[in-house]
């Protein structure tokens, strides 16, 4: 490589006559490629930096994203507004952003320790993440405030059932039905428990009771049809 050491005129063919070399003995295409790559890197790097820093807040593409923006704004404007925290928690739940939903529910509870809504939100967030113990604690907190709160008994029964404690779920549902005998969904849930325990007559009784106040309640009608029973 005599030419490399001594240097030579640019654009002169190499020994095999295949490529041009510069004064340093490097093929010209290589030098050009390096320059092109550096320019491309600067360009793409610039785009990357722009995309990261230019638009931090995305345009909402769904009602849930819209609601989150809306309620985040309400919370930012009035951090002491418990309703805004509750609404934001619900929006986070709808978006399946459970940790943020929990955080907002906690803020609501901190602002209004006796607001049952905050505990229900906590219970639902825990339940949806499969943290049944957390959910039970949340519903127990409601029941500590209002021992006969039918909705909490019902929600707690759903968690117990999910945990496999059918008997515990039945006890809670019976209490929920006693506290709110007109709630068709409680009746149907209790009927389903009886059905799963093989107590068909008791199940039919609950399904029929569900139709007493909501005559066209579809889950009850479907259950009765499934069991081959009439509605009354």
């Amino acid at each position: 490589m005599e030419q490399e050491e001594s240097g030579g005129p640019a654009a002169e063919p190499d020994r095999d006559g295949h490529a041009e070399v510069d004064t340093q003995g490097v093929p010209r295409w290589m030098a050009v490629a390096v320059i092109v790559l550096i320019v491309a890197i600067v360009g793409v790097g610039g785009l990357l930096v722009f995309s990261v820093f230019a638009e931090t807040d995305p345009v909402p593409m769904s009602a849930v994203e819209r609601d989150i923006i809306l309620y985040q704004d309400k919370v930012a404007k009035n951090p002491q507004d418990p309703q805004a925290h509750g609404s934001l928690a619900q929006a986070f739940l709808a978006a399946k952003r459970y940790p943020e939903a929990l955080a907002e529910a906690d803020r609501l509870i901190k602002l209004e320790p006796k607001n049952l809504g905050g505990f229900y939100l906590r219970g639902l967030a825990f339940r949806l993440t499969g943290d049944y113990d957390g959910a039970l604690k949340a519903y127990d907190a409601v029941l500590a405030l209002v021992p006969t709160e039918a909705e909490a008994l019902y929600q707690k029964s759903l968690v117990m059932k999910a945990k496999g404690d059918v008997d515990g779920a039945r006890t809670l549902l019976e209490a929920a039905v006693a506290a709110s005998p007109m709630a068709s969904d409680f009746r149907v849930a209790l009927g389903a428990i009886f059905e799963s325990m093989g107590q068909k007559d008791k199940a039919v009784e609950q399904y029929r009771a569900a139709l007493k106040y909501v005559p066209d309640y579809a889950p009850a009608l479907e259950a009765l049809s499934r069991l081959g029973a009439t509605s009354g």
Binding site: M1, E4, Q24, G25, V26, P27, M30, A31, A33, V34, L37, I38, A40, I41, V44, G45, L47, L48, S51, V52, E55, T56, D57, P58, V59, P60, M61, S62, A63, E65, R66, I69, L70, Q72, D73
Partner: protein, 342 residues
């Protein structure tokens, strides 16, 4: 191979790797098209494509109770009475700009209820609460105002020659660009040639056929070039609880081929009729807040193909949907919902 060549080669390889990494990072961070929701079928014949909820990021850019709507040359124009503005989007829902502002002065708006656009991009906005029609150029600068128009509702530009305008009591025709009144059809009432808040109008064939949705009279009319009735579908209700009425409330209209599409805010649906004779094809959609359902759909515009845009006053959004008239007809249990009258 010389040492310098090897160094250059290594540098080259490193630079290629760096470039590849940067491109990967850029593509990964870009939101891309996948941000749009997948098409959703809720009602036979109706496919949700996407919804537009905002014209930028932040709570102050959210759409609120949109009313007026127009589509021209790939641009969607949305009236937002709460802000007194016209929002402009591309056909994909990307925001392009804002025209107008809230106020009582020249070029300012209070209730942009109806919008249309001519071929030069001039925007015509009916502002019923200020009894005027405002004309902006394509850059949003005030061109002209037509004032003292009693409760104007929906303007329709025809061949850049005429402006058809529904008001709460009539259909008026103006010359363009002078905006001189050429004719006025009807007065407020329930009679055959009368109107009561006609919230929709479609003009075809240079004005040879005019279709009007006569809001409070719960009917759809086809008129000839002189404003005379060709056919009517529906009839004024006997009262608020009239169960036999054809519409909940007929409002915005669009036409594609021989099919008329009429938004019904109270039913949360879109009615389809044959434009030629008024035969009912069916009703599509369901009321609700989910994508693919409608919350007080007030106006509808045709965007090409099977695609339409619908302003949903109740859901604070503009929804883009595909409507297949054939599928609607097949799915409609009672295809003859309305019978054209004489």
């Amino acid at each position: 191979m010389g040492r310098k060549r090897i160094v250059y080669l290594l540098v080259l390889v490193l630079l290629v790797a760096l470039l590849g990494g940067l491109i990967y990072a850029y593509v990964s961070l870009s939101p891309g098209e996948e941000a749009a929701a997948d098409p959703v079928d809720i009602s036979p014949g109706l496919t949700h494509v996407r919804s537009i909820y905002a014209y930028g990021s932040g709570a102050d850019k959210l759409i609120k109770q949109p009313l007026g709507l127009a589509f021209r040359d790939g641009r969607l124009y949305v009236g937002q009475p709460s802000a007194g503005t016209i929002l402009i989007f591309d056909a994909e829902g990307a925001p392009l700009g804002v025209i107008g502002k809230k106020g009582r002065g020249p070029g300012e708006l209070n209730s942009p209820a109806g919008i249309d656009v001519d071929s030069a991009g001039n925007v015509y906005v009916a502002d019923p609460e200020h009894a005027k029609v405002v004309v902006y150029d394509a850059d949003g600068k005030l061109v002209k105002e037509l004032v003292q128009v009693k409760y104007p509702l929906i303007p329709r530009v025809v061949d850049d020659q005429k402006l058809y305008l529904t008001t709460f009591e009539s259909v008026k025709v103006y010359s363009l660009p002078a905006l001189e009144e050429l004719s006025s059809w009807g007065k407020r009432g329930r009679g055959d040639s009368e109107y009561d808040f006609p919230n929709g109008i479609v003009v075809v064939d240079g004005g040879a056929a005019v279709y009007v949705s006569d809001g409070n009279n719960m009917r759809l009319k086809k008129l000839n070039k002189d404003g005379e009735k060709v056919w009517t579908v529906g009839a004024p209700p006997s009262g608020m609880n009239d169960q036999d009425r054809l519409f909940g409330l007929p409002a915005g209209m669009a036409i594609a081929g021989d099919v008329l599409y009429v938004a019904d805010p109270l039913n949360g649906t879109i009615h389809l009729f044959r434009a030629s004779d008024g035969t009912a094809i069916g009703e599509v959609g369901e009321p609700g807040i989910d994508e693919g359902r409608f919350g007080y759909p007030s106006q509808i515009v045709y965007m090409g193909g099977k695609r339409f845009a619908v302003t949903e006053w109740g859901n604070d959004r503009v929804q883009i949907v595909d409507i297949d008239p054939g599928a609607v007809a097949n799915a409609t249990a009672q295809p003859q919902m309305g019978t054209p009258g004489g």
